[in-house]
Symmetry: C2
Subunit: 137 residues, 2 copies
Amino acid sequence: MTDGHESAPTGVRRTTRQRTAVSSALAETGGFLSARDLHDRLAAQGERVGIATVYRTLASLASTGEVDVLLRDDGESVYRRCSSAHHHHLVCRECGRTEEVTGPTVEAWATAEAERHGFRDVRHTVEITGICATCTL
Amino acid sequence: MTDGHESAPTGVRRTTRQRTAVSSALAETGGFLSARDLHDRLAAQGERVGIATVYRTLASLASTGEVDVLLRDDGESVYRRCSSAHHHHLVCRECGRTEEVTGPTVEAWATAEAERHGFRDVRHTVEITGICATCTL
DNA sequence: GTGAACATGAGAATCAGTATCAACTAGCGC
DNA sequence: GCGCTAGTTGATACTGATTCTCATGTTCAC
């Protein structure tokens, strides 16, 4: 973890066929995709991109806030092209449909609660799941 | 996935040495433990319990609400003996110390927000992380 | 005490994600 | 356009958590 092979980038981020492919595949799909899904989707489109590269690209996009990462219940991470403002998700457990929701209420509550316990540098995650109107029918 | 070997239990839950061991090891420790941690701890106490059994027992305890499951950022699940009332966690990113917090505010907000989008059968998870007072020093 | 349903455990299998490292390439200066 | 080199890629091995398999062991109602 100290100094591997792919470390020490001088900050330059090159444009490659693979990165463009991952980015646009993500943009085409509204919803959340796992790294595998994305890899399969690219393969189906004839874009040959290694799974390792997909993971690397997603991690990179996530670190710049261009995509949103969600850790599903089964432990797999899913990614989505996302507005960069802080927000939360309302996910349908049936079809996976996602709505973005914002909540000044929660933000305030989380911060207040954390401070009450003496915690600093507070972050929070809120996920709401349910069955959406369409799936209820 | 239709009908395995360990399925079709008629609802009976037997008391075994292993289940008791897992339960009490969990009770002795205030904080969160991963299945491995628990397994190691049991081994150290001379309790020979298979890792598969630890997982099974934890899953069973979790399903009855006797323990609380948290999916850590690295994807590993951690378990803790927990009050059964609905609540959330405030976790220190440094030392792992955990506080239980309740928030009628969030509950209400989550439900309202979900209903506004036409979602039913709503559940939510809220995790707040930060650096606790002790680690700040 | 008996028997059948339930539980266990050792190890194999699975699965997401990361590390390795030789080969490749974007983009800069010329 | 050419060459250089740091940044990238990808096939594959590896790791680590969790689940599956199934023969064997236990619990508990009767």
